[in-house]
């Protein structure tokens, strides 16, 4: 996104001197309407973003709760967090989910998009089918998969039974609860797939033709044409996917009714944050958690951005 903005600024800068003279007259008077038109957002930005953002830093240094005014305690919340076992457990669960889900969603997403990009009959129907799960509300998705993965009467275990594999206890087992969550999240990856599809559509045909002339087979074309040119889109989905993975809440919360069972194996970071704030009313403590999350997400995004120079190829560069 940053790249885009830069390009635009350069574009306007290049065109500016030519058009500027005639435009100046026309745009001169748009300063007041400009502010006026933007005013709802300026108010919204201050009220719903800037003010909460800064007050949450302050809260994170206090013992604030709705019930008590709370007092300034400095870094105590942070210090306590680092000694909080459940805090570390929730980080472990969240990282576990992100580490498996994000790469899997990229590999499977790209593979699906490549399949959907082939010239085969009935593609419109296939595309709709792949996208359908994204339209299921997360709460309904949780409910649906709880039923599919039900160890006694669920479809998944009965299918495994047919093949002769005894199915695990899925959501009831400490070992399998997180893989279950990854599986159901992968079911709803229609959105990134559509973005990959758009990316595939942007790859010029000449490149494939040139590769064919050189005698490249399907595999070679994929490795040296498709994937490199798809990296900007992969990059975008990597950033969005990682940010989303760290904010996992609705699925585990609804499935375990906020309990994170079994044995806290589904207690995700944001769930624990929510519990602290709205169940135990430890708003200061939860604010500290929120800021740690913010820093983690920013650091992660920064790392992806920095490494992207090595592996993201923009067309025409």
């Amino acid at each position: 996104m940053k790249q885009e903005i830069k390009n635009e600024q350069i574009n306007t800068a290049v065109h500016a001197p030519v058009v500027a003279k005639q435009r100046k007259k026309l745009t001169k008077s748009s300063s007041i309407p400009g502010w006026l038109f933007a005013s709802p957002w300026i108010i919204g930005l201050v009220l719903f973003y800037a003010f909460p953002l800064f007050s949450s830093i302050y809260y994170s240094f206090t013992t604030y709760s709705i019930l008590q005014p709370g007092e300034f305690v400095g870094l105590e919340n942070y210090y306590k967090l680092f000694n909080d076992e459940l805090f570390w457990k929730s980080i472990y669960n969240t990282v576990y989910f992100a580490v498996f889900f994000v790469p899997l969603s990229i590999i499977i997403g790209v593979a699906l998009a490549m399949m959907l990009n082939m010239k085969v009959k009935g593609m419109a129907i296939y595309r709709t089918i792949f996208f359908l799960p994204t339209l299921v509300p997360q709460v309904a998705l949780a409910v649906l998969w709880m039923w599919l993965l039900n160890p006694g009467f669920g479809l998944v275990n009965s299918l495994l039974d047919v093949v002769g594999i005894p199915g695990p206890n899925w959501l009831g087992s400490e070992l399998w609860s997180k893989p279950s969550l990854i599986l159901m999240s992968l079911w709803a990856i229609g959105q990134p797939v559509i973005i990959y599809l758009a990316g595939l559509g942007d790859i010029p045909n000449e490149l494939y033709e040139a590769a064919e002339v050189d005698g490249a087979n399907w595999f070679q074309k994929t490795i040296s044409v498709t994937l490199p040119l798809l990296t900007p889109v992969i990059f975008f989905n990597l950033v969005m996917g990682s940010i989303g993975a760290f904010q996992q809440f609705t699925l585990p919360y609804t499935m375990t009714q906020g309990q994170g069972t079994p044995a806290n194996s589904l207690t995700f970071y944001v769930m624990y944050l929510y519990d602290n704030a709205f169940k135990f009313f430890k708003m200061g403590y939860a604010s500290a958690m929120a800021w740690i999350l913010f820093v983690i997400i920013m650091a992660l995004t920064a790392v992806i951005f920095i490494t992207s120079k090595r592996w993201v190829h923009y067309q025409g560069k």
């Binding site: 719903f48 792949f130 709460v139 039923w147």
Partner: protein, 277 residues
Amino acid sequence: MQPKIKKKFQVTLAQVCLLAASAFFIIPFVWMVSTSLKPITQVFTYPPEWIPNPFQWRNYVDATQYIPFYTYLKNTTAITVFSTLGVVLSCPLVAYSFAKLEWKGRNVLFVITIAVMMIPMQVTMIPLFLLFNKLGWVGTPLPLIVPAFFGVPFSIFLMRQFFMGLPNTLRDAAKIDGASEFRIYWQIMLPLAKPAVLAIGLFQFMNVWTDFIGPLLYLTEDSKYTLSLGLQQFQSQKGTEWGLMMAVSTMMTMPIIILFFFMQKTFIQGITFSGIK
């Protein structure tokens, strides 16, 4: 001859892969609908049966009585419609200002708007809750509706990109004719931006219709609940009403699927547009 056979083999292989993958995506769906129509005795049969016997249409009626379905439906619809209205009114206006009007601080504010998209909602969640609590809005749907009227950064960004693509000449011509800025926006530019407005409206509708954490935070009374919260009530100590729960899940998903069906093009344009450009 040989390349032709090879080609045919490839196409067949592709078809097989597609079919297998489709099964993974469609079966849970079919299963949801199938379970929603089964009599309770058939829900718990092993191995599972695919076709309900008999078709228990009554499940849908029972589900709407097990929880106050129509109240929840009404609440969800009201919140969704009003907040979508808010976004559709505010975001294009702000975006237009970012794209076409020139004013001091515009570019800085736009960069801030993009930066704001990076803030996880959990960071602002607690102070916002306290703010709405002070205003006495906790327990009402207002915290879920009012902020939409002040703009959503992602939708502003999307709309702005769209307005950037519209030519300036129209605006200049209207300006020479003496039209006010608001008239230019309302009568010329906004109608031209209809596809983008539809896209952001659609996104907002979907997000709010399916929202869980918002209602969970702010709606304290049973009578104000939305469908997302209502769905949880089918799980109790007594056990889970799978058939009824699947019926409500189906009913909750249907509006979105219908909407998607009729607005497919806008939808996909919106997603790809937001993703790449």
